[in-house]
């Protein structure tokens, strides 16, 4: 369809054949002129901060006087290795990430499967699924924080109604991680469901027909035809969710109004992103925050490297 658009667009160009205007496309400068605006900003707001962070991470820099920095060598990195708060944040990040991502993708898969059926009010269901995606981190977290209140929260009230004892959602090491993860889960399940739904649309119908002829039931067709077709989408959403999990920040920051950047009294839901914020903007150690930032990047790169390595034998990746 887009090709048609493009082809039709040729007509006016062709009509002007008589008197060419403007600089010809062959101009050497043209490509550079086209990418220049992007790369100008990319250099200023993408690359420069990246490099400067690397540079800063070798200094002892205090937010009270960032210009007065002291060379610290690898101190900030060495400190990180022995920093139990870092390891705690890393493990929290992984756990919350798993708690948020795995059920989210499975649920999304199920919802996509449901949405793929022939439905009345199809658009309504799809739009409603996107409502959480349109809700901001801050708004969602503020509401969920109320739901999870210890004394007057709706969740504990509901638990009481069915005869269960209340849970301390802020202080429980697992309860709090689950609660924070549930906010992520809520916000992104519908979005991912639509992505899977779209990917399902790209599976050739003949495959289903063939499977149906072979007498495969609905779930066997889902398992043997749909799921393999979804592999690129699964890889994509998995990667995006992993990146999102490592960067998780707003949910734990706002989850409890008393905890702030500490992520709970025992740092029980402090993520790496939150720990970075605490180091830089509460403890005021910009150098250590910078080292932490690079550690996060290296962890992601290592993680994805590992995934590629594991999948290496099985041919090309998602795209």
């Amino acid at each position: 369809m887009t090709e048609e658009t493009a082809r039709r667009a040729l007509v006016p160009v062709a009509a002007e054949r008589v008197r060419p205007r403007g600089r010809p496309l062959r101009s050497r400068a043209a490509p550079y002129a086209l990418v220049a605006p992007f790369f100008l900003l990319f250099a200023a707001f993408g690359l420069f901060p990246l490099a400067a962070t690397a540079w800063l991470s070798f200094f002892r820099v205090d937010l009270t006087a960032p210009e007065a920095r002291q060379w610290a060598g690898a101190h900030n990195y060495a400190r990180l290795l022995g920093d139990e708060f870092f390891w705690n944040a890393l493990s929290n990040t992984v756990l919350i990430g798993l708690l948020a991502t795995v059920p989210q993708l499975l649920l999304a898969l199920g919802v996509a499967h449901l949405l793929a059926a022939r439905l009345r009010g199809r658009l309504f269901f799809r739009v409603a699924a996107l409502a959480p995606y349109a809700t901001s981190v801050a708004a969602a977290t503020l509401v969920f924080a109320l739901f999870y209140g210890r004394d007057q929260g709706m969740v504990n009230w509901a638990l009481g109604v069915v005869g269960l004892s209340p849970v301390d959602w802020q202080n429980g090491p697992w309860a709090s991680k689950f609660a924070v993860a549930s906010i992520v889960l809520w916000r992104w399940t519908g979005y991912n469901a639509l992505i899977y739904l779209a990917a399902m649309g790209t599976v050739p119908p003949e495959l289903y027909e063939a499977a149906a002829l072979d007498g495969a039931g609905r779930w066997r067709r889902f398992w043997h035809v749909t799921l393999p077709g979804l592999r690129p989408a699964l890889a994509f959403t998995g990667a995006v969710s992993a990146i999102g999990a490592v960067q998780l920040f707003g949910e734990p920051l706002l989850f409890s109004s008393g905890a702030g950047a500490s992520g709970g009294a025992d740092h029980q839901y402090q993520t790496l992103g939150l720990y970075l914020y605490e180091q830089g903007w509460v403890n005021l150690h910009l150098g250590r925050a910078a080292a932490l930032a690079w550690a996060m990047l290296l962890l992601l790169v290592a993680g994805f490297g590992l995934v590629r390595l594991v999948r290496g034998g099985r041919g090309r990746g998602a795209r």
Partner: protein, 278 residues
């Protein structure tokens, strides 16, 4: 957009499950409105309220004026609009160059852009903050807009789209006709890229509207807050009134929900199309 294996008509079980999912998706938003219509005293009681109260107007107006949500909404609309527009323009230009033009370092530059997809936004904030401070941009909206224009995803997405949607023969023909860059952009690239531009614009707008980490650092509740910054202030602020906080959350979310309700079909289509390409 034909349903994939939707040959069978949905049974009541499907509707039941989808209904449950829809309720879970929408309930927190509905309850935000309920909470915003109550008093904080009522919210402090158990069981929580499930029906609307009479304080919606008052709470909204307190959040609007005292909570700064009015100013924040205007700021956010400006920021999200600029980011969406700017990202689309920059990404289309660069995406086209990467898709169809030959120039030195093309491969290397493309790799560089792709590599930054992995970079967490937290990585650059320390020096970025120092730069913003040096420029005197703290509490200024451009401090939030300009860094957000750099979208590696946008460039890659537009490139991918144009590789598929803009056949080289077309460009060759245009070249033979001696069309200038501007004309090619206008008459060939723009029409071909339009669907992808719409998707990118939508996604960028939502992302910018809900952007959190950097705005919370670069802006303050008291300067030039976006909705997220103002909400953070409300949520962690000296507010005697939970219902006002909920009213603020409602105000900050409502515009996007209205947009979603009005342009639901397009946005759903956008998310799905973005996904297939992404």
């Amino acid at each position: 957009m034909s349903a994939a294996d939707g040959r069978e008509r949905a049974g009541w079980g499907t509707y039941l499950l989808l209904g449950a999912f829809t309720v879970v998706s929408v309930f927190p938003l509905l309850w935000t409105a309920v909470a915003a219509s109550r008093t904080s005293g009522r919210l402090a009681q158990s069981p929580p309220p499930f029906r609307f109260g009479r304080n919606l107007g008052r709470n909204l107006s307190v959040a609007w004026t005292e909570g700064g949500m009015g100013e924040a909404l205007a700021n956010t609309a400006l920021v999200a609009g600029s980011v969406a527009l700017g990202t689309v323009v920059l990404s289309t230009l660069a995406g086209f160059a990467f898709a169809r033009l030959r120039f030195r370092f093309r491969g290397a530059l493309l790799l560089l852009v792709g590599a930054t997809l992995l970079v967490p936004p937290q990585l650059g904030v320390v020096p970025l903050y120092l730069v913003i401070a040096r420029l005197g941009w703290t509490d200024q909206l451009q401090a939030v807009v300009l860094p957000s224009l750099v979208s590696a995803f946008g460039v890659l997405y537009l490139r991918q789209h144009l590789v598929e949607a803009l056949p080289p023969e077309l460009l060759e023909a245009a070249r033979m006709d001696g069309a200038g860059t501007a004309r090619v952009l206008w008459h060939l690239v723009l029409p071909a890229a339009r669907p992808a531009m719409a998707v990118l614009g939508t996604l960028s707008f939502v992302a910018a509207w809900n952007d959190f980490f950097w705005p919370v650092l670069a802006l303050t509740q008291t300067g030039n807050p976006t909705v997220q910054v103002a909400l953070t202030g409300l949520g962690r602020g000296y507010v005697p009134d939970t219902s006002v906080v909920m009213a603020g959350a409602l105000l900050g979310t409502l515009p996007l929900l209205v947009v979603l309700a009005v342009f639901g079909r397009q946005i759903v289509g956008g998310v799905m199309r973005g996904a297939v390409k992404g």
